[in-house]
Symmetry: none
Subunit: 137 residues, 4 copies
């Protein structure tokens, strides 16, 4: 399966609706399975820093096939791969990046959210991911 524009827009739309519900302005990035940009939206009022952060959370998720915050378990101080976050041009190892899987569980891309607190970004990301999975099934 290749990630479609339709699927990317389901993600953008749900992320933005959820962000508005939480009173947030976020950046939403959707990458394909090769970590190339598919769709992107910076809501009015989102900080500029979130452009890079949202894309980096998504690329971390697609490169490691894992939620961005789970990568931190490998690279935190004292963990076996301490410093892993310096690879691949610099990872974002905190919440808000979630991989996107086809029905057969193969990776077709990832989404990344930035703009609120990390827990808010995760909440938005999870809502957008759930919408993707509902649409896919």
């Amino acid at each position: 399966m290749t990630l479609s524009s339709h699927q990317a827009h389901v993600i953008l739309d749900r992320a933005e609706a959820k962000a508005r519900e939480l009173g947030l302005s976020v950046v939403v990035a959707v990458l394909d399975g090769g970590a190339h940009l598919k769709a992107f939206h910076r809501m009015d009022g989102a900080v500029l820093a979130s452009v890079d952060i949202a894309i980096r959370k998504a690329s971390t998720a697609v490169l490691f096939q894992a939620n961005s915050e789970d990568v931190w378990e490998y690279c935190k101080p004292g963990a076996p791969a301490q410093g892993l976050q310096l690879t691949n041009g610099g990872l974002a190892t905190f919440g808000g990046g979630i991989p996107l899987r086809a029905a057969d569980q193969s990776i077709v891309g990832a989404l990344g959210i930035s703009g609120g607190s990390v827990s808010q970004d995760v909440e938005v990301a999870q809502a957008a991911h759930a919408a993707f999975e509902t649409e896919r099934n």
Copy 2:
């Protein structure tokens, strides 16, 4: 004036409609006045190379406050600023990037289109730019 999400989506929607009318799959990039990404869409079937090209056309347009192809006049062999295209991380000095101006003519961003021939990209870019201006007025 700051470029709004609403304006960015007017551009994305018109560009995609025009591309479909021409039978093309294009990438559409919208940057703000600081050359930061505001909205982006890679239509299904567009080549991967167009991700970078569309963003670069838009950044060339906003950085020089000129259509991307007009920058070539300054940097072509024999012109006074020969080699200018190597600055700013590499310019895209061919058609498809158009600056976005507020009613007072100040620059608020730029759009970039890539995916068809250069003349097709320019046609899509002009249609999207016209929609932006119509909506602005």
Copy 3:
């Protein structure tokens, strides 16, 4: 279809056999459909410059879905997209990069050869590409 290690090695093996037949030492790079490295071999005696050149020919081919030399038609002096070679981190717009397609013609990767003259690199690339297609069918 995803490019397999088996397919990548068919390419490496045939490229090296052809290079030896021509008395050459070449670099062979095989990328997947997202332009990520899948397999690579620098034959003994190949110049160091060919490491980057082989990878860049392959990435040019996969990003544009075209033979690397065909991209030059768009960017040569006087062509509509003059300067296109400065995009995507710098293209290699001469022969030796060939896209790899699945039976349904979708792009699954590309190969790049560097080390001989351009016409020799093309000859090696074509032999390797033919071996890939024979194995695929």
Copy 4:
């Protein structure tokens, strides 16, 4: 001594056999004494992140003439060269990179493994390194 293609393939073959024995999909990178890529293979199923990580472990090993994890002793918090890991484009200071030495102990290259847990990567790297040494002697 210059690292030969034959030696590089001894390393690739042993690393892959060991990875299969452990039920892993890994990336194997072999660099020469100048930190330039000599041979590379991403096994089917290895995560994309491992492309960069394997190469970086090998480059860390060749640049410092030490196992990648040993470099961490110099750069960890409180060590004299705190922050050293930010040099050379970012080091990989955890296990999986091992320098390759000629019989006279001069450095001729390094190998890097990524794809499993760090201890698994080290196990694969050690097996490949042992095969290199056996073949060399």
